[in-house]
């Protein structure tokens, strides 16, 4: 019987290729479960999961909550804005207080990169990183790769482009690690100000030409411009960004073959992607959302089973 090589899912960097395949194989089964009339199994009925969201989130939080409930786990939800964090409590104190109420697993989103690593060495619960600052968002990368595998059969050998705000994106970094471990070729594309210099050391191609990138790739994963993290100007205006880096249906139709368009959401329509492209036949954006629940169920199940 196979098991994950880790007790926590902090980032894709720390797991091995076999872990990713095991998560995918388990997620295949959970995808069947969530498409049944009765979408629930009792596997985690003795597990309590705390969802600690120190940063706003809609789809990740809802997706994790659904995954937990469909595995019959008990859940407690925590949002920083309405908690004692605003009264000056430290992260460790907050989490230890929640763990004192006998919580087995923690799903955490935090604005500080490394917050999950910090916690994992100090508390006994399994930790799943639901996004730590601009560092990693492992379950998003797993569901992206799972969706590519579902659409194209496999990830190995495929050319995947990540287009947009790479600098502020935890999705981009986790995607690069995940896709490379699965044997895909990865290219990042965006304005020079939004691609960190260290990306060239990760073994990915770097491009600033979105049309050339679309011609090159099998899959385009389009990322949002994260204006909330931008305290200086990285490009002159959203309109100009859209003109140079925005993806439109016309650009997709001009290609000599069909490519797959992905977006981890939330979409800024008319900025990184136009509405006609976001709603067009090329996209698998809603499949990504559906797969997110199955992949997160697999991660929760496998981590709980490893205890």
């Amino acid at each position: 019987m196979k098991r994950l090589s880790t007790r926590h899912l902090i980032g894709i960097k720390n797991i091995i290729e076999d872990d990713i395949h095991l998560i995918f194989e388990t997620a295949d089964n959970f995808k069947e479960v969530i498409n049944r009339p009765i979408k629930k199994v009792p596997s985690l009925r003795d597990i309590t999961v705390a969802n600690l969201f120190f940063e706003s989130s809609t789809r990740t939080r809802v997706s994790f909550e659904l995954a937990e409930r469909r595995l019959s786990a008990d859940t407690v939800n925590f949002a920083a804005s309405s908690s004692s964090v605003s009264k000056g409590e430290t992260l460790l104190d907050t989490v230890n207080n929640i763990l004192a109420m006998k919580v087995d697993m923690v799903v955490m989103r935090h604005p500080a990169p490394g917050a999950c690593v910090y916690l994992s060495s100090r508390i006994p619960a399994n930790i799943i990183n639901a996004g730590d600052g601009t560092h990693e968002h492992p379950t998003q990368a797993l569901l992206d790769a799972f969706s590519i595998r579902e659409r194209l059969g496999e990830v190995a050998g495929k050319k995947i482009a990540i287009i947009g705000d790479i600098l502020h994106s935890r999705v981009a970094l986790s995607n690069v690690f995940c896709l490379q471990k699965l044997g895909a070729k990865v290219r990042v594309c965006g304005p020079p100000t939004l691609i960190p210099k260290y990306y060239k050391d990760l073994g990915v191609e770097i491009s600033h030409d979105v049309r050339d990138t679309l011609r090159w790739c099998d899959v385009a994963n389009v990322l949002r411009i994260q204006l909330e993290r931008q305290d200086i100007k990285f490009f002159p205006s959203l309109r100009e960004y859209h003109q140079y880096f925005g993806i439109t249906r016309q650009m997709l139709l001009e290609l000599d073959r069909e490519i797959v368009v992905m977006h981890p959401g939330p979409i800024n329509r008319g900025v990184e992607i136009s509405s006609d492209a976001a709603d067009g036949p090329h996209n698998i954006i809603l499949q990504q959302v559906e797969n997110g629940v199955a992949v997160r169920m697999a991660v929760l199940y496998l981590l709980a089973a490893g205890n």
């Binding site: 196979k2 049944r36 009765i38």
Partner: protein, 181 residues
């Protein structure tokens, strides 16, 4: 590992399956409003054969599915890691149907208990009956008994029954070992 004692050799193995099929025909008629469900993974090797033979005997299609119970087990956290799930292949609802549940060996009864819970995800059957190839009748943890069985095996708790299948092991037989290898 000590060689196992043969409880059922190839000719008797085939004969037992044939006998079970005829017993089913007697009780279930032409399987109208009924279905067969094999328990993944090993129960489906038996259910594949019984389903194919029954279709031959009644001369019409019989609804057939394969049920995975991994996510309903009470012991999915094993020391060797999580149990690996298998695909569920049931493309119909069992509501108001009579269900024949099939597994290879009935031992503690926990697998069948989980299967009954898992079956509820596909509707509310009008009745469920259980068929197994080998019934270890003195090793039960739960009050579960088969309606049809190939052979009854009276063995100690630590004994191990191995069903070998032509499709996988190149031989149809049931072996009894003193302990699990």
């Amino acid at each position: 590992m000590q060689p196992g004692k043969t409880l059922l050799d190839r000719p008797r193995f085939a004969l037992t399956i044939e006998r079970l099929c005829h017993q089913l025909l007697e009780d279930w008629g032409d399987f109208s409003n009924a279905c067969i469900i094999g328990i993944q993974p090993r129960g489906t090797l038996l259910s594949n054969r019984i389903h194919a033979r029954l279709e031959q005997l009644v001369g019409k299609k019989i609804e057939y599915g394969k049920l995975d119970i991994t996510f309903h087990r009470d012991d999915f956290r094993t020391p060797d890691g999580p149990l690996a799930p298998h695909p569920n292949e049931i493309d119909f609802l069992v509501t108001d149907k009579k269900v024949l549940l099939i597994d290879d060996v009935l031992y503690t009864g926990r697998t069948i208990s989980a299967a009954l819970a898992a079956l509820n995800d596909y509707g509310r059957p009008s009745a469920v009956e259980l068929l197994v190839l080998a019934d270890r009748r003195f090793n039960r943890h739960l009050p579960i008994q088969p309606d049809y069985f190939g052979i009854a095996v009276d063995a100690l708790d630590e004994a191990y029954i191995k069903v070998r299948w032509d499709e996988i092991h190149g031989e149809d037989e049931i072996l009894l070992f003193d302990k699990k290898p």
